[in-house]
Subunit: 723 residues, 2 copies
């Protein structure tokens, strides 16, 4: 009965696909970049030659999922089931080999010594009279990573003959932070939290396995499943059981479970009267609680803490330093080998203290005070994930502290689900920036991979954009941000363009006629959003209350440091925030002299950073040779045009893309164009009301009055497309 039904089903799906019906076989994006579609006919034979069988001699859970992935991927791409065998029987065998368990590694003298626990070698060789491809690592997780690397070779239409690939991650802890609450809400712009806590531990949704596969394929090895404003109930036995069940699903994929906790847990969970990190009872409570967690999850990764930020309590409440707060947790974790991520996103509402200076001012003096199992988690920029920020001056400032980077994979301020905004291009700009920490070449990437200060512990965190939307991320192109985040945590020095090329090939088709234009579009997408949202170094110009849509006139937030006008500082004479050493807040002075010199100097500073560091008159001539008023308006205008240009490129891609994903991206780009125009028009209307200047020649006036845009914002209580 069973065999008959499977056969019948195959015919059915094939027929349904042939005649183009049936949503079940629709391309809904759920498969991400692991679609494993058949390769071009012409290439099949060559690929099959080097993938005739899979040799598996190990039976660990990780090897089992590695085998499953290779069978799935190769069978589908090469159109032929891949036999699994326990010894080489023919040319073209793919061998999975773990150091100490597979003779082939020593026989072929594969260079596994320098691979660490997660690296791999993929080598084409002759062994026992057969042509084989060995995927080897010092651990089974290394082999898993190698297997995904091998699959990528085919997915991107590269040869699998004569392979000699060796790779390992440059950052140790590559972690997704899920800003998800237990009630399944999330900041992800893509539906609910994928963690169905109410049904765990009994029901382990198959989605978790696919999530783990996707992460492993890009090198992510750690997950914080709950929001930084953590619910204390997560530390209860009931939820630790749920967490342990989830950890069981992720473990074979090399992914460790972490947990976000509040510093007040000793009170809210433990019933103590204080959460003072130096109180002995508090120390004991944390030590006991962490030990308890390890009874549920023996390989638990560690904790993440947000403290003294946005209303969250912290060590400041007890006149303790951030190091005091962190170390009590670090000490509790240490005996178990656990890691503490302590966020540096600390600021208070002090009008005299430029908000972007506060993290540096707080953490720089504490350098050397944190335990060695602490990573201070620093946002890419000093403010809050704006379309463009200078890199945080904490990168490179603390030789004796492990500094990890935090980026938002979710586009909280950047168009949510709909805008096409390739964050890889953004992150690359930050990672390639030179801190001059140890002279020229001390890039942010080299700081966070530990090479500048020889850190023994490194980490790179991203706020996940993953939700229950069928395509995981709310849009197909948002998937590229998850993908590129993973690839950049593996190698922060990697090229955003190269990563985009891989992603586009794997997600759609490796056809160069598609990949070329689409990657161009992706790389340009970042500047498009900067242009229509916040050009020339403007920042924090978003609507108050939610982060969707423009409100450069915003001045009602109650806190000055949440008001857009505080950041644009526009008046009839000029615009921009003076953060220079000479006349401003001296935020520029937090950088090394070589960097500060550029930011301080109007002659040297790049136009893209201008209004972040300088207040200039409307007549000030930018590097583009235009009065800043004219240049600002032209940037807004250009931003809309750049979105239109993306629409044109996408329209030409129709022959290469399935109907469903083509349509969705087309509509989303149309929405982005209207929102770009909203940003352009309302920003121009506002700044014109302040500057009193005429529009430059050839620039169309805003479609509506400033009051119309103000009224529109009043009516928007939640992020919503208003047109």
């Amino acid at each position: 009965m069973s065999a008959f039904r499977i056969f019948a089903c195959a015919i059915c799906v094939a027929v349904a696909t042939l005649i183009g019906i049936g949503r079940a076989s629709a391309e809904d994006g759920h498969e991400l970049w692991l679609r494993y579609r058949p390769v071009a006919d012409a290439a099949t034979a060559a690929y099959r030659q080097s993938a005739s069988e899979l040799v598996v001699t190990d039976n660990s859970p990780t090897i089992a999922v590695t085998q499953a992935e290779l069978v799935k991927g190769l069978s589908a791409m090469l159109g032929k089931p891949l036999p699994v065998v326990s010894a080489v029987t023919q040319d073209g065998a793919i061998m999975l080999a773990v150091t100490g368990k597979a003779k082939v590694i020593s026989d072929l003298r594969l260079p596994v010594a320098g691979l660490g626990n997660e690296g791999f070698v993929i080598r084409s060789a002759t062994w026992q009279n057969h042509k084989v491809t060995v995927i080897a690592g010092n651990t089974d997780v290394g082999v898993l990573y190698g297997a995904f690397r091998y699959l990528r070779q085919i997915q991107t239409a590269q040869s699998t003959a004569n392979l000699n690939i060796s790779d390992k991650p440059r950052v140790q802890i590559r972690v997704l932070n899920h800003w998800d609450v237990l009630g399944r809400g999330s900041a992800n712009s893509a539906g609910q939290s994928i963690w169905d806590w109410p049904k765990l531990p009994a029901w382990k949704d198959p989605l978790y396995t696919d999530y783990a596969r996707a992460n492993a394929s890009i090198g992510i090895n750690a997950v914080v499943p709950n929001q930084i404003n953590a619910d204390p109930v997560m530390l209860s036995p009931m939820y630790l059981r749920k967490l342990a069940a989830l950890a069981d699903v992720l473990r074979p994929y090399g992914i460790k479970m972490y947990l976000s906790v509040q510093v007040t847990s000793p009170m809210t969970v433990g019933g103590l009267k204080t959460a003072d990190p130096l109180d002995p009872a508090v120390k004991k409570w944390w030590a006991d609680k962490v030990s308890e967690i390890y009874t549920y999850i023996p390989d638990f990764g560690g904790l993440l803490v947000k403290a003294d930020s946005e209303g969250e309590p912290g060590p400041q409440s007890y006149q303790r330093t951030q190091a005091d707060g962190a170390n009590v947790l670090a000490d509790a974790l240490k005996p178990h080998g656990g890691i503490l991520f302590w966020r540096a996103f600390v600021y208070s509402n002090d009008p005299k203290w430029d908000r972007v200076k506060q993290a540096y001012d707080t953490f720089k003096p504490l350098d050397g005070k944190f335990r060695d199992n602490v990573i201070v988690q620093v946002k890419n920029g000093p403010l809050d994930f704006q379309p463009r920020e200078p890199f945080s001056p904490l990168f490179g400032a603390t030789p004796k502290t492990n500094i990890g980077m935090e980026v938002e994979v979710v586009k909280e301020y950047l168009g949510g689900a709909t805008h096409l905004f390739y964050l890889g291009a953004y992150w690359e700009e930050v990672l390639q920036a030179d801190t001059y920490a140890k002279g020229k070449g001390s890039t942010v990437a080299s700081v966070i991979d530990g090479s500048v200060f020889k850190n023994k512990l490194t980490g790179f965190a991203g706020v996940a954009n993953i939700g229950t939307d069928r395509d995981w991320c709310g849009s197909t192109f948002n998937q590229a941000n998850w993908y590129s985040f993973g690839r950049l945590t593996w190698d922060p020095h990697a090229s955003a363009r190269a990563i985009a090329e891989d992603w586009a090939a794997m997600t759609f088709t490796p056809d160069k006629a598609f990949v070329g234009p689409v990657v161009d579009m992706m790389m340009a997408s970042r500047e498009a959003d900067v242009d229509f949202m916040m050009p020339l170094g403007l920042h924090h110009q978003f609507a108050t209350g939610h982060h969707y849509g423009p409100e450069p006139w915003g001045n009602t937030a109650g806190r000055e440091d949440w008001n857009p006008v505080n950041y644009n500082r526009a008046d009839k004479d000029g615009i921009g925030y003076d953060r220079t050493t000479a006349t401003g807040t001296n935020y520029a002075g937090q950088y090394k002299p070589q960097v500060a010199a550029v930011f301080n100097d109007l002659k040297r500073i790049d136009d893209k950073d201008l209004l972040w560091f300088h207040h200039v008159s409307w007549d000030y001539k930018t590097k583009a040779g235009l009065p800043v008023w004219d240049d600002l308006v032209r940037h807004y205008d250009r931003g809309v045009g750049e979105v239109v240009a993306m629409e044109k490129i996408w329209a030409e891609m129709k022959p290469y893309v399935d109907t469903d994903r083509f349509a969705k991206t087309t509509v989303f780009l149309q929405m982005q164009e209207k929102e770009a125009k909203w940003w352009r028009d309302s920003s121009i209307a506002y700044f014109q009301s302040v500057s009193g200047r005429p529009l430059p020649e050839g620039i169309a006036p805003p479609e509506h009055s400033l009051d119309w845009y103000k009224e529109l914002n009043t009516s928007l209580k939640v992020p919503v497309y208003p047109f």
Copy 2:
């Protein structure tokens, strides 16, 4: 390029399915009962003989979707693309025929006269020298319904030769109420609201189309997309545009858009100082606002209102009657042909006024006072969707008022996503109950289909259990509740068992060895939950704050009418709520004498209703011949056993069910067993603490102490599986 890729994809999917890999082709339940899997080999030839081509001569949007559905379904089930032609060319043609547009109807003298606007005829005949099957209706929507009926014939393995089927709905407005809020929250236990308002009107998710298909297939023709505690912003132009876009998607499927509004809208939206329904400015505001809605949606269905209930404002605030409140809206709708649903779920916290009496007391005196385009929407029982309630005494009590029934398709009190609880069996019990409104045989079904009082307007509403979970309803068996709701709105006299048989065949397989046991299990599932939750007429024994898990000891709700102890009234002497005419609240007296006589009489009342109507001593002997204490405990105990029995049946169904859906239901049944035990043990522990009686012989004591269960509830803030 495009053709090549489609072909390649078909091979890939086929290969992937054959070797059993790939989640994309996994049976995740998304296709509901419209799976259209290939029929048994032996049956294919016969089906193909009567489905050789599809003759379409009309081009309305509804005929277009009818054609698409038949092509999709028949091509997949019969393994062969179905050609679409504009005239009969061969034997086996299926003809779509609308009265007045298709000669075949008059030629064959098809009996379309009595079909109304939504009925259909399916007739095998010879026409123009060819054997044909005509699917005919007076409207294209009738033809659509006929097409789904034709497909069901094959899906349930019935013959398509010599067809002579004629059917039409017995209720006019068959409506889903979505208790969804604009922020995408929902009461549906199945993820978020499927309405992605933030991206409408630009992005019309393909999910909406599949939702419409599913509804049309079971006869649902109306949708209220927003919650009864309605957000006023829904009446803004921005949201009316979004609503109109959604209406455009649903329209071809014969589904009209309704809207839930608050009676305070003239104030919250219109800025008036009052919402008094008799105020002329309020009347004018409603008239204008309704006219405005019709400019966006010309075939808008009407409004739904919850008033004077659970803190929602209503006409009582202005000392007006429910009829006053309803009629102002009805008058506004009347010129446009719109309908008003006015909910009867009205009650106040008056300890002297038995809550279950209040709807009747409020609405019965208003009989004849409502406009003829008003439907008073009455919950199936007088309390609130408990596992068992007597039918509401309002059914049959108001000859001059249109009474519609409201049921909860979502299992708010009945195990949410996980419990297997076939609501069809529950609803059938209510619909078949005899009101004696016009003597014996005046069933609830005959009241709401209008036949008892000759109503010109009829309606049947269900609170939708549909969300963004991939399987729509949170579990496969919850889909049966959506399905049976639709079928019962079409024909309230239908058999729940027959509906379950259709559903099981269409959702899994028509194999009798599967359908028989599974339908037995479904039909038994209702009594299982009654037994372990609230046997013998107990009600409202749920945990306070959320409706998940037991709390018969609950007495802290702040309102007496929200406290479980108020409803079980258990003390050391006895248990039950005296609602008799002689000594109780005389709720029984709200029924016709023939019904009241049974409920009032301990000798005549069924055990299942006992404690709803009577307070009896613990020694009182039930019809089962046991002291009520013993019988109560035995019912709790039996409930657990009934779940175990369902698990056994399901385990035997493994050969007939795909891996994914088999596993999910298996785990959910395991969860249900643990929760049944939770109900059993904590309820027995509590009632034993009150009665002081020993457990009957052979009954295992509760696993934990009463305090343990009390403590467990304290720790549960949200509905969550705690084991």
